[in-house]
């Protein structure tokens, strides 16, 4: 188990978002966390990436408590792409991606040949080699998102946590980002955990789905086991039909109606 949440309790101030959650992420898997808005999926991801301090329970990275590990060491094992990240103005794509090398650098190790090849490889992997000297604010939404993923790649971590990497992207760009995630997993053997909104894309691109509601994990497992009509009713209050995706063979959700008006 690479990353593990044990009896995790999370919240902001007095508001409890997640109470007593257990979850394990196995090495070499792509996991998608799904659930309705406000169910605590982003909060969970932030805690697993030690961006949020749990109010109870613990997060274990390779069996060690993540909050007791030196932050640089964590940053060399685990990379996080936050939801709608912000960068200083005027930054170029190459500047941004180079910043991903921060956990590997010190005042006497500012730009090693490792840094250079990692940044070059990260740009190549995301197809941004030709845009490296362009300012970040001049890119399209899809390109910008790829630049941020590229930064997380340059960090050179085995584990990647991506918080809604496809938000604000049109369908083609969403596919582009998710194809990239698949390649990270297939070619580089990276372990990826991502929060996704689109259930059909989650089913197609993830090995495992984690369905959440009200801060609890309702179901976890392969998409074909998790994505059922009963689960959609329970988690999303949605009446839907599940058919087989004619392209990928994964479950495909065809919505019928919400249940909010129907008696429960």
């Amino acid at each position: 188990m690479r990353l593990q949440a044990v009896d995790l309790k999370l919240g902001y101030g007095d508001r409890v978002v997640v109470d007593g959650l257990d979850l394990g992420i196995e090495a070499g898997t792509v996991t998608a966390v799904i659930g309705p808005n406000g169910c605590g999926k982003s909060t969970l991801l932030r805690a697993m990436g030690r961006l949020l301090k749990p109010s109870g329970g613990e997060v274990l990275l390779d069996g060690k408590r993540i909050d007791r590990m030196p932050s640089r060491e964590v940053a060399r094992i685990l990379g996080v792409l936050p939801q709608s990240p912000s960068a200083p103005e005027g930054l170029t794509v190459a500047d941004l991606v180079s910043r991903g090398r921060h956990p590997h650098q010190t005042w006497y190790r500012q730009w090693s040949s490792d840094d250079e090849s990692a940044v070059g490889a990260a740009l190549a992997m995301t197809g941004l080699l030709d845009l490296g000297d362009r300012p970040l604010d001049e890119l399209s939404g899809g390109q910008r998102q790829r630049a941020w993923i590229s930064m997380a790649l340059a960090q050179g971590t085995d584990l990647l946590l991506l918080d809604e990497p496809t938000t604000f992207l049109d369908l083609a760009h969403q596919i582009e980002v998710l194809e990239l995630v698949r390649r990270l997993h297939g070619e580089l053997g990276r372990t990826v955990v991502m929060v996704l909104h689109d259930l059909n894309l989650a089913a197609r691109y993830a090995d495992r789905l984690v369905a959440m509601r009200d801060g609890r994990v309702v179901a976890a497992g392969p998409p074909s086991e998790v994505l059922t009509e009963a689960l959609l009713a329970e988690v999303f209050e949605l009446d839907a039909k599940i058919i087989e995706d004619p392209v990928a063979g994964t479950p495909l959700v065809v919505p019928i109606a919400t249940r909010s008006h129907a008696p429960r």
């Binding site: 990436g49 990379g79 990240p85 200083p88 005042w107 500012q110 730009w111 250079e116 940044v119 070059g120």
Partner: protein, 359 residues
Amino acid sequence: MTSTAPPYLARRRALRIGPASWLLRPRSLAAALVLLGTTVLLMALSMRLGDIPMSVSEVLRAITGDGPDHFVVMQLRLPRALTGAGVGAALALSGAIVQAIARNPLASPDILGVTTGASVTVVAVIVAAGNTWGGVSGVLAEAGVPAAALLGGLIGALTVYLLAWRKGMDGYRLVLVGIGVSAICTNLKFWLLTVGDVNDSSRAMVWISGSLNGRGWEHVIPVAIALAVLLPPALLGTASLGALRFGDDTVTGLGVRMHLTRGLMILAAVLLAATATASAGPIAFVALAAPQIALRLAGVAQPPLVVSALAGAVLTVGADLIARTAFSPVELPVGVVTGVVGAPYLIYLLIRVRRKART
């Protein structure tokens, strides 16, 4: 990777010795050398100019000799120019740090409550030591001014910090609280000026404007010590300071201990600004403008610390030279000159930021 690096990565050159590597920034280095040269030139010029103009050879003779010229150069002009250079460098360094932490090119140490806190205590000391309240003797007031400024600056910064702290430090809240505390201090200061004796108030006004008039070696040394102690750790933190300009989650994700780094950097900025203010009063605009000039000269995205410090030295020594000689025999406080030069620059920055916000 066998493929050749793209040109923008190849441009990023490093000096590599074994496992160690240092980024080479030729343009930053050139900017630093030009600014250093300009500082030396301006200081040499201020040795020559004044009520008793001297040629270069006269200045050199004055340094080695022991006539009245020796006193003028070694006890009046040199310490004054050195104070100017040191104070300018310290203010600019402080400004560069604050702008990185506040993620705002319009931020300056003023928002940390240092300068306004110092102003209130100094005005209080001058007014209280004068005739108004029968107070202490004038000599004690003179000696007490730098001490009062240092103390007031630190108290001001502590007030801002405590009010802005809420389970961590947020750049925006820091700026807002800083503006609030500054406004209160400024009003207190004006109240003290109006109740004070006219002569005391006018003395206080000179200090509030920021002046290098009559600064001696006792003003050089504290600033030199502050720079010597605080510059090396600030330079070690340069990379983390750069990371702090990103969103909080990105900073933490990169393995930076955000609250610790931010706290230490703010402490360094406060100490630098407070020491500078104790020596020369709150000189306007240097901390704001110098880092922005430096980053444009060096062609980088983040105010570079050493180049900023040198830009601050050039600005302050240059402004003092103008203040001292332009309207001779009348001497202006240096802060008036930096203000006159700095105000249009601030307006320019505001317009630019607004334009950016609209597009």
